[in-house]
């Protein structure tokens, strides 16, 4: 793992450094112009968040039904990372909306459920930190609940009438916009993998420290 970590880290950094050049060369969108380019890192943030939630949900299920410390560490790490990517989406979105819609925030279905999803995972992190004994199981349950909310966030624009662009914009992207977009998505997924590795390793060391404390107290 340590052998691949360095090159993986460098490649992720390089991709994030190259992304703005690809995005700059992408054509402007006809109605929104320059500000639409926020799309190239706003949507990948949500993709990364949904992936982190998926990992958290599956690991939470394993931990709930099999009580696996390893799955619990992965669930804990993925929940924390989901909060980070969700925050990126929730900050870049209003910056885009301010120019495109004339307002920072709109209480429509898509945005409101996305905010609730972020708050769900913040609550999961807080439960683990301040919940005391048994909080791992409770946080796992919250993680599974969060996973169940993801389809509603994604499909909200197709179910309810909102001002947010529809999900069909991504599959219908022309090649000139698709290349920088999928490049950004790949960069975000690599960042997610990198953060997950770091955070799981931290959890492992914390577990080792807890065991050492128990041995010391005995």
């Amino acid at each position: 793992m340590r052998k691949v970590f360095g090159p993986f880290c460098a490649l992720t950094g390089l991709m994030f450094a190259c992304a703005p050049f690809l995005i700059a060369r992408a054509p402007y969108e006809s109605t929104m112009g320059l500000v639409q380019k926020i799309f190239y890192f706003h949507v990948p943030s949500w993709f990364a968040m949904f992936t982190a939630i998926g990992i958290c949900g599956v690991a939470s299920l394993v931990h709930l039904f099999r009580t696996s410390p390893r799955a619990d560490r992965i669930s804990e790490a993925a929940a924390e990372i989901a909060v980070v990517f969700g925050l990126m989406g929730l900050v870049t979105g209003p910056l885009w909306g301010r120019k495109a819609w004339g307002v920072w925030w709109q209480w429509d279905a898509k945005l409101t459920i996305a905010l609730l999803l972020e708050m769900t995972f913040i609550s999961s992190v807080l439960v683990r930190k301040y919940g005391g004994p048994g909080s791992d199981k409770l946080a796992s349950a919250v993680g599974i609940f969060g996973l169940a909310v993801v389809p509603f966030v994604y499909e909200a624009v197709n179910i309810w009438r909102t001002i947010h662009p529809l999900t069909s914009v991504v599959p219908n992207l022309p090649a000139t916009m698709g290349l920088p977009f999928w490049f950004s998505v790949a960069a975000y997924m690599m960042l997610l993998a990198l953060l997950l590795m770091l955070r799981v390793n931290l959890g492992k060391r914390q577990a080792a420290l807890d065991e050492l404390y128990l041995v010391y107290e005995d």
């Binding site: 994030f16 703005p20 112009g33 320059l34 500000v35 380019k37 926020i38 890192f41 706003h42 943030s45 990372i81 980070v84 925050l87 990126m88 900050v91 870049t92 910056l95 885009w96 301010r98 120019k99 960042l191 953060l195 770091l198 955070r199 390793n201 931290l202 060391r205 914390q206 080792a208 420290l209 050492l212 404390y213 041995v215 010391y216």
Partner: protein
């Protein structure tokens, strides 16, 4: 003769007074007219928003990596302290 002088004086006055009137500031606004959209010249520039969004992504990722690194250092320091205490027991 006097009529000719009078006409010259009148013409001179008109020619000289025209630039003076032309230099007067325009008439003040007498009413406000509402419009639905912001004029094009007053619209929000997109570049600062775009740059802020990209910068935020970098800052958020860096702050999170830093927080992991800080917590890891604390765990390692605690482990070292504990390891030093262990042989004496």
């Amino acid at each position: 003769m006097s009529l000719r002088r009078f006409l010259i004086a009148l013409t001179s006055f008109v020619l000289l007074s025209a630039p003076a009137f032309a230099l007067q500031p325009p008439k003040g606004q007498s009413e406000f007219v509402p419009v639905d959209s912001v004029p094009l010249t007053d619209q929000l520039p997109a570049a600062p928003l775009l740059i802020t969004a990209y910068a935020f992504v970098w800052i958020a990722a860096m702050v999170y990596v830093w927080s992991i690194w800080r917590r890891m250092n604390k765990v390692e320091a605690d482990m070292r302290v504990l390891a030093q205490k262990m042989p004496h027991r």
